[in-house]
Amino acid sequence: MSTVPDTTTKIRFAGDGTAFDVTGVQWIINPWDELSLTRALQLKEESNGAIEKVTVISVGLKETEPVIRKALAIGADEAIRIDTAPLDAYFVAKQIAGSIKDDGFDIVLCGIDSSDYNGSLVGGMLAEFLGIPSVSSISALNIENGEVSVNREIDGGKEVLSVELPFVAIIQKGVALEPRIPSMRGIMMARKKPLNVKAPVEADSLTEMISFEQLPAKAACKMVEEDNVKELVDLLHSEAKVI
């Protein structure tokens, strides 16, 4: 589970444009991870005790704990925080793999990407490091009579797969309708749930941020009368330079 800036955050970059300016930023659970958590909790509830617990794991510094607490308030049974900054996808996947490889899990659910850097890499790498299969772009995840099946979005339709455990489920839209809202009681109870802090494992990061750039500000919109096709074509050619 990763911690990302709220979707309404105004993005600014610090100093020379090599770092994201976090001043005043509100942090939230990465939306895909929130959906994954919601589905995991539903599966646990439907399983009549067959699913023992739902654990959230996050790589991040202490500042991310409020967001992890929210996941506990929503209903996760316990949380693990690996105490290091998430440097890049390779590093994060190594950390998670290092932490959970001996934990006896059945399914690792992770979002298809994180809404800040949109890397879409951690899930696949994690499966590789754990030596287990992964299925990407999952839009439905079901367990019936112990059989696990998933739907995948493919070009022009969907694919239904049956999968063996354990595996990494890379989750996108559809797996749950809406993320769950924590209740006030859930928030109180989350205080008493375990949030275990683990030391990071030895790992490299393979990338380096060179610079960030803002999107160019949106230019004013030009209106062309509906019957004036010539002007439109001229503008597209000479001003927008797209034809």
Binding site: D6, T7, T8, I28, R69, K173, I181, I187, M188
Partner: protein, 393 residues
């Protein structure tokens, strides 16, 4: 997945004064308001209909009596949590916040504070879950600001009380399962009692044609020889102090709630002013618009600090009724002024239901009147600082 465009105001980093739990609570209620209130509330107001099903959802999420101990179905949260919930609810609509205020502060609070253990166990869990809805009857047709002169009475009949009288302007009246009613006994002492729907002689007609709090039920409670069992009277309180203590709790929540309505108006006006151009410039670039917006953010910031400090005092059980009066009066008036100014910034668009401003503005006309009018709160402050009581001539 796009969230709402709403950007909360926090000009003085007051967030730093909140705990992580407060922030989680706020984001939970904010998400719920975006999901369940915002999409339906405009039409509900236009149609003058309270979406009653919302009460069930609010109960499930624990918005009723959040400060009531877990043993009775509450969440055992602190007063700032309660305040934060109110702010977020009122960003949605003052009517929805009113329902929560009444249930939490005017019904659950007195049952918890003045009720017997049996009364607590019988009513509080149902009220907390939203399965049972409560109302609070203090105001009468001829006794509003001066509730001490009420004429609703209970007569001791030996094994029960006989209740007669009428209450007016009562939130949740026609949808309530129980009502906490204040009435005078044979010795002219104000007592509180729990009246249940279905008791013979108890009716609760709704008041129609309101231009304010249209998505909230308001009505009368009429008692015509209602037999109330003796075990329904509050054992632990006598006199006007009882209802006034309830009002303190509700007014405290309103001081926080009004900030939500103000922030929604300010946020809407700020965004609109940056997007709307006249004379070849965004209207936000004109000094007069900036004066309006700059004053709004200043007033919101002051109100936030007032509410936060009051919350700290309330957590320590040190908030005085006069301090609560000041905060309620200031913050509601602030919100109403901001609603009016914001509406002007939106020009003609401001009067439509495409934006929340006019709805907030009309709602706030009730909020500035109920729970002690704007002027009555001023008299409370006046009394407190001068020692002279100016209610009676």
């Amino acid at each position: 997945m796009p969230g709402s465009v709403y950007t909360p105001t926090d000009y003085f980093q007051i967030d730093d004064l909140l705990t992580d739990d407060h922030k989680i609570i706020r984001s939970a209620i904010r998400d719920w308001v975006d999901r369940s209130v915002k999409p339906v509330i405009e039409q509900a107001c236009q149609e003058h209909k309270f979406p009653v099903y919302l009460l069930q959802e609010m109960g499930e999420l624990g918005m009723f009596g959040p400060f009531i101990p877990e043993k009775y179905g509450g969440a055992g949260l602190d007063q700032i949590s309660y305040g934060v919930i109110m702010t977020e609810l009122e960003r949605g609509d003052s009517g929805v916040r009113s329902a929560a205020s009444v249930q939490s502060s005017l019904v659950m609070y007195p049952i918890f504070s003045f009720g017997s253990e049996d009364q607590r166990m019988k009513y509080l869990p149902g009220l907390a879950s939203g399965k049972m809805i409560g109302a609070f009857g203090l105001t009468e047709p001829n006794h509003g600001s001066d509730p001490g002169s009420m004429i609703t009475r209970i007569k001791d009949m030996g094994d029960h009380y006989l209740l007669n009288g009428a209450k007016m302007w009562i939130t949740n009246s026609s949808i309530c399962d129980i009502a906490v009613v204040w009435a005078k006994d044979d010795e002219d002492i104000i007592r509180g009692l729990i009246v249940e729907r279905g008791m013979e002689g108890f009716t609760a007609p709704e008041t129609h044609n309101k231009w304010s709090l249209r998505a909230s039920v308001t009505g009368e409670l009429v008692f015509d020889n209602v037999k109330v069992p003796k075990e329904n009277i509050f054992p632990a309180i006598q006199g006007l102090k009882g209802p006034l203590m309830c009002l303190n709790s509700a007014r405290y929540g309103i001081a926080w709630g009004a900030i939500g309505a103000a922030m929604d108006c300010y946020d809407t006006a700020l965004r609109y002013a940056k997007e709307r151009s006249q004379f070849n410039k965004p209207i936000a670039a004109f000094q007069l618009t900036q004066k309006k917006l700059a004053e709004m953010v200043t007033e919101i910031t002051k109100a936030q600090l007032l509410a936060w400090r009051l919350g700290v005092l309330k957590n320590e059980d040190r908030a005085t009724p006069s301090q609560i009066s000041m905060a309620k009066r200031n913050n509601v008036n602030m919100a109403l002024e901001i609603a009016r100014e914001s509406r002007q910034i939106l020009g003609a668009m401001g009067i439509t239901g495409d934006f929340p401003i006019m709805r907030h503005m009309m709602n706030l006309e009730s909020v500035i009147t109920y729970e002690g009018t704007h002027d009555i709160h001023l008299l409370i402050t006046g009394h407190d600082i001068t020692g002279f009581e100016a209610f009676h001539q």
